[in-house]
Amino acid sequence: MAASAARTAVALRTNIRRPVAFVRKIPWTAASIFSSYTGELREHFSQFGHVRKCTVPFDKETGFHRGMGWIQFSSEEELHNALQQENHVIDGVKLHVQVQKPKALQGDQTSDEERGF
């Protein structure tokens, strides 16, 4: 019972602010790292610093990605460098690059749920 009480208070992980760029309008021809090759996105963003992580999720229902992805740099400075550059072009397509906003902290979720109404 105590465990269930603990469970109801949905634990949340403090969002450690990481230097992440959110990229939109990625052309379908480009992709992130796979086992076989580095990926255009990582290559492009490597010019601004060390890319720790580069994710472009694919939709397994369609076989295409959804045109957006996340680039995690090693430092804020590198992220800043990337954001400073006005145009990011991959395969002739201009990307939209912005800072990833920290996820909204969802705290005390259960306060109202417990009672339903």
């Binding site: 105590a2 634990a11 949340l12 450690i16 379908w28 397994k60 002739g92 109202d112 109404f117």
Partner: protein, 1128 residues
């Protein structure tokens, strides 16, 4: 002279210009002409767009005004209006931007209208009007079919058509060159008791004229005459077309003279009719002459008119004249959408070459090298199956013209979306020739297509194609797109080998390994890694291995695999080396788990870390710090020391030579001290380092030694260290020293919270409260995470049974306003007594919380315990309180859930069958989610079972939750049983339910026994199958009419009458009536209708809107009868 000219002349003599009393007798004498070849007449496509919108806007305003006037203007009206506005806006935007409406958008708006529960005439009009030239991507016949579908469906749903709808339908017929009998059409209108108006006649004349049937047109003119209707320019323009199509150009020309004589100046429309007529004949000379004539007059042809002429030429087979006419176009910006519309229409008509010609002539600004124009053309070419050779040529030309930067890639995208393998193949070859790389993921959409159908042969073909073009499938290709097509991973290898498309064995093996890892098959992983001889990257396996670890609970295997990866020369040997790789692995493993998962697996993780330590596995210090932060945020800091054992210290020191070790710093400190130099900085650095090494003893020693040189930062870090080591005494001392140093200094929120936790834990309540007060005074930032930490502090104390700690800290937190009282935050107050099995006090505290804060923490758990112990009196007390404060329904649900939770299903059943109880979706969902979170399969199954007859229960939603739980457990058998149960219950599953079910089945390699819907639309499944009798039809019509006129009493009486005669209408009729009754605030009658419908139509359901309105109405009327309950 043609038949129509004669009466016209006659009329002129009579001197009547506006009203033309034509005699039927005269008209009848006209010769009948053979139908001319059927030629296009894409009735001024562009103009329609504007017309549609301006009219629709008028309707919107009209609808709003009507609302305003109606006294009982209810939300439903407003909803309709806003719904209509929404639809209008979507369509409007589309036409503005692109000159057209995509079919999918129209379908969406249509479905939405059907769903909305009440379909107004204006929505119907808007939809019908959109089915003509605004759909250039559809073949003419498909457009008309679409219009008919809309017409029939809306009629069935109770939309009452007026003459505007019939006219709109006529316009669509004209635009789509649909062949129909105008007389039949008139008859149809007559049957519906709709009076044709001038526009109707005009359009019917145009219909005859488009077929070159002058005689027919004359007949209609006759009708018009009997009605004394004026003949307008539109009629004359139609006659121009009519004569021309009848092959009589001379008379077509003559119409213009007749018009002038009748006092009507030929306008652009008439000239356009003439121009189109010449264009259809390929008569460029006359076209040019006429154009000159127009130019000389003060008339003005717009670009969209010129485009029309171009279409006529090309459709009639004279593309050679297109360029000459193109020169006349001024390319005003606002006509770009019209041009796009024409280009698409040409492609639909298989006149792609002309379409390209027009496209290339578009003056698109080429300054911004990154903007593309022409995608719409390429996409539509792919849809219309334009041959690959042609498309390649188009791409080349668009690129040369710098109109499109990547036409090949774009077209390939379209081809892949359309799963057109041959076209995709051709385009990829072309791309390769152009020097572009062909990437592995280009083939994925093709594989997806085959994978969905489990088409092994198709998969094999794509793989062969990849090989041919020189692309090697990577692991992702195998894992995500190839394996799911096969029943077992093992069979894949055999089949691929058999077909000669297994070229890179090592990639395949690794993919195989990853899928086994994901499935938690750790034995396989271990034996593979032991016997493997291939080069292999640990990083690529990391993600799958983490999933596998979390699925398997065999810690020995976890450790063995980790050890192997760490120590074996085949793995992790490249830089950055095994320490780093395993460190990251551990970090990611913990990071991938939820807080509660980490908490639940705390012991297992500890065991794992200890085994790793015994195996002498090391991780770098920086990664350790990351893991430490993770564990901290998961609220299991107790694991930190266990991970700390794995830190590789010596190596850190030797590698990072730039960073001095603690002993370096210490000697430096001594040196500075002896030299009498300031030591503050070095001291702080050293303290921080010792803190990160968790060396409390040494750090405190150092502090004592150099107390006078301590700074704020050093203290903060020391305080935190002592808290971590559970040393309340020292932490408090340090805090005091900290305050003495600078009373205004503020600690981080997390450090304050830690202090509170440690002080509370060691019974230093007043000190803890003082810290809380300080937080308030210094206005420390309280985040959601802070509130959560408060909860954990209180909860921890409650579990240890520290009553005073919980009470006082809670009181302080709430009174100080550091956090608002919530069910979660206050639950430890109750937990205290639940843990001690002191149920009366637990209940009292809960009730007390309600009195103080209007919350009822842990009432569910309290009830469960009361039931378990059979505390009848207390249950009664709880129930009395809840029903008094929150209503009986809430109380019933509380009791229901408690009985379910405690396995008292019989009692639960009794509760949920209480008369008058109805579904409360949020509460049901809350319980479902709870069951899913704690994996209570039986409880959830019982919930679903017992609520089967619950009033207004969203069965699909409950089954969806059940499926979610089955998915977690991978239990496809039970999921499959759900599919059957839903059919038994006559539930129509939503699309997402079917998709989830399909996913579960597919994950277990089971066949999916139904079409997985992309989107689910409510369709005519409810309507009656047998054809209704005339009595039924007339009664139903009466009822619909009454509903339409909002005569609720009449409508209800008709319903009663029909009921007496045992006449059953279709479900839409009942839905409409219920809607009306609800609008008129008549829920009792609405329920009566609903009950009848439910007992007479299988699977009758109200839509969501009506349902919620019914509930609202009933709640308002306090429909709920008091329910007496005995428990025990």
């Amino acid at each position: 002279m043609a038949a129509l000219l004669r009466p016209a002349r006659w009329l002129l003599r009579a001197g009547a210009a506006a009203h033309l009393p034509l005699s039927l007798r005269l008209l009848a004498g006209g010769p009948s002409r053979p139908h001319a070849a059927f030629c296009p007449h894409a009735a001024r496509a562009g103009r329609v767009a504007g017309e549609l919108l301006s009219q629709a806007r008028l309707y919107a305003i009209a609808a709003e005004k009507k609302n305003y006037l109606q006294e009982e203007a209810t939300s439903s009206h407003r909803r309709n209006t806003s719904q209509f506005d929404w639809a209008l806006m979507r369509l409007d935007n589309s036409v503005r931007r692109t000159g057209r409406i995509p079919k999918t958008l129209l379908q969406k708006v249509f479905d939405n209208t059907c769903h909305s529960g009440s379909q107004g005439g204006n929505q119907a009009l808007l939809l019908l009007r959109s089915c003509g030239s605004l759909l250039p991507e559809l073949k003419l016949s498909e457009r008309t079919e679409f219009a008919h579908r809309i017409w029939d469906k809306l009629q069935k749903l109770g939309t009452v058509y007026d003459v505007s709808h019939y006219n709109a339908l006529l316009k669509v017929y004209l635009q789509n060159e649909y062949k129909f009998s105008p007389t039949d059409f008139l008859e149809k209108m007559e049957k519906a008791n709709i009076q044709p108006n001038r526009v109707t006649y005009q359009r019917l004349i145009a219909a005859y004229c488009n077929m070159g049937d002058i005689e027919g047109a004359s007949k209609i003119l006759g009708f018009m005459k009997t009605k004394d209707l004026p003949v307008t320019e539109a009629v004359f323009s139609a006659l121009v077309t009519g004569h021309a199509r009848a092959g009589d150009m001379e008379n077509a020309e003559n119409i213009l003279t007749v018009m002038k004589e009748a006092g009507i100046e030929p306008g652009p429309d008439t000239y356009l009719a003439l121009l189109n007529a010449y264009a259809e004949k390929g008569d460029i000379d006359h076209v040019k002459q006429t154009l000159e004539k127009v130019e000389k007059s003060d008339l003005y042809l717009m670009d969209r008119d010129i485009l029309q002429i171009i279409f006529s030429f090309s459709k009639a087979g004279y593309p050679q004249y297109v360029s000459e006419i193109l020169e006349k176009i001024t390319y005003e910006r606002r006509y770009i959408p019209d041009t796009m519309n024409l280009i698409l229409l040409l492609v639909t008509e298989k006149l792609e070459d002309t379409a390209l010609q027009i496209l290339l002539a578009c003056p698109i600004s080429r300054e911004d090298s990154l903007s593309d124009f022409g995608s719409f053309f390429l996409r539509h070419c792919v849809t219309m199956n334009t041959p690959a050779e042609k498309l390649k040529d188009y791409c080349k030309k668009l690129k040369e013209a710098q109109m499109h930067t990547s036409p090949f890639q774009f077209t390939l995208h379209c081809a892949l979306l359309a799963k057109n393998m041959d076209l995709a193949k051709a385009l990829m070859k072309a791309l390769k020739e152009e020097g572009f790389p062909i990437r592995t993921h280009y083939f994925w959409p093709l594989l997806v297509g085959h994978q969905k159908e489990k088409n092994v042969q198709g998969i094999v073909e794509v793989l062969k194609e990849m090989h041919e073009i020189g692309v090697t499938p990577d692991q992702e290709t195998y894992i995500n797109y190839v394996f799911p097509c096969f029943d077992s991973v093992k069979s894949v290898r055999a089949i691929l080998q058999e077909n000669g498309c297994l070229h890179e064995d090592s990639i395949f093996s690794q993919a195989e390994l990853r899928i086994e890892a994901v499935n938690g098959n750790l034995d396989y992983i271990l034996s593979f890694l032991e016997s493997n001889t291939l080069p292999f990257s640990f990083a690529s396996l990391r993600g799958s291995l983490i999933l596998g670890f979390r699925r398997s609970m065999n810690i020995n295997l976890w450790s063995k695999i980790t050890e192997l990866l760490y120590k074996d020369g085949r793995y992790c040997q490249e830089p950055p080396g095994p320490t780093e790789a395993v460190g990251y692995f551990l970090y990611n493993l913990i990071d991938s788990m939820s807080d509660s998962e980490v908490q639940a697996k705390e012991e297992r993780l500890r065991q794992y870390f200890h085994q790793l330590m015994e195996m002498n596995v090391k991780i770098p210090e920086n990664i350790y710090r990351g893991i430490r932060n993770l564990l901290d945020s998961c609220h299991v800091p107790e694991l930190i020391k266990d991970v700390n054992m794995l830190v590789e210290r010596e190596k850190t020191d030797s590698r990072k030579t730039a960073q001095p070790t603690s002993s370096d710093l210490e000697s430096k400190l001594e040196k500075l001290k002896t030299e009498n130099q300031p030591i503050g900085d070095v001291l702080k650095q050293l303290i921080l380092m010792l803190c990160s090494e968790e060396n409390m003893h040494k750090a405190l020693e150092l502090k004592a030694k150099y107390e006078s040189d301590m700074v704020i930062g050093g203290y903060a870090s020391l305080i935190n260290l002592c808290c971590r080591h559970d040393n309340a005494e020292e932490a408090l001392n340090l805090k005091r020293e900290f305050d003495r140093l600078d009373s205004s200094a503020v600690l981080d929120t997390s450090k304050y919270v830690r202090l509170v936790k440690v002080l509370g834990k060691h019974g230093k309540l007043q000190d803890a409260i003082n810290i809380l007060k300080e937080m308030k005074e210094k206005d420390v930032l309280i985040k959601d995470a802070t509130v959560l930490s408060f909860f954990h502090i209180l909860n921890g104390a409650a579990l240890r049974g520290e009553t005073e700690t919980v009470k006082q800290l809670h009181e302080a937190i709430v009174t100080l306003g550091l956090a608002k009282p919530s069910t979660a935050l206050s639950s430890p107050l109750v937990t205290l007594y639940l843990e001690k099995d002191d149920l009366p006090t637990a209940l009292e505290v809960t009730i007390d919380c309600y009195k103080k804060y209007k919350i009822l923490p842990r009432i569910h758990d309290v009830l469960c315990k009361l039931i378990e112990k059979g505390e009848t009196d207390l249950i009664q007390k709880a129930m009395d309180f809840v029903s008094q404060e929150q209503g009986e329904m809430t109380m019933l649900y509380d009791l229901f859930f408690a009985f379910l939770q405690t396995g008292n299903y019989k009692e639960a059943k009794k509760i949920i069958e209480t008369p008058g109880i109805r579904a409360r979706p949020t509460r049901l969902q809350w319980f479902c989610d709870r069951c899913i979170a704690s994996n209570q399969v039986e409880t959830l199954e019982k919930l679903v079972e017992l609520t089967q007859k619950l009033f207004e229960c969203d069965r699909d939603q409950l089954y969806y939750s059940l499926l979610k739980l089955y998915k977690v457990n991978g239990d496809w058998q039970r999921a499959d049983a759900v599919w059957n149960k839903m059919q038994e219950e006559n539930i129509i599953p939503r699309g997402r339910t079917l998709r989830l079910l399909a996913e579960i089945l597919r994950n277990s390699n089971q066949e999916v026994p139904f079409d997985v819907p992309e989107l689910w639309y409510e369709d005519e499944k409810h309507s009656l199958t047998s054809s209704p009798s005339p009595v039924e039809v007339s009664l139903q019509k009466e009822l619909l009419n009454a509903c339409h006129r909002k005569k609720d009493k009449d409508a209800f009486n008709i319903f009663l009458k029909a009921k007496k005669q045992n006449v059953v209408f279709n479900s839409e009729t009942y839905a409409g009536l219920i809607n009306l009754l609800l609008t008129k605030d008549n829920p009792t009658q609405a329920v009566q209708v609903k009950d009848f419908a439910e007992t007479h139509i299988k699977g009758f359901t109200l839509n969501d809107a009506a349902n919620s309105r019914l509930i609202i109405a009933q709640v308002r009327r306090d429909y709920l009868k008091a329910v007496h309950l005995e428990v025990g």
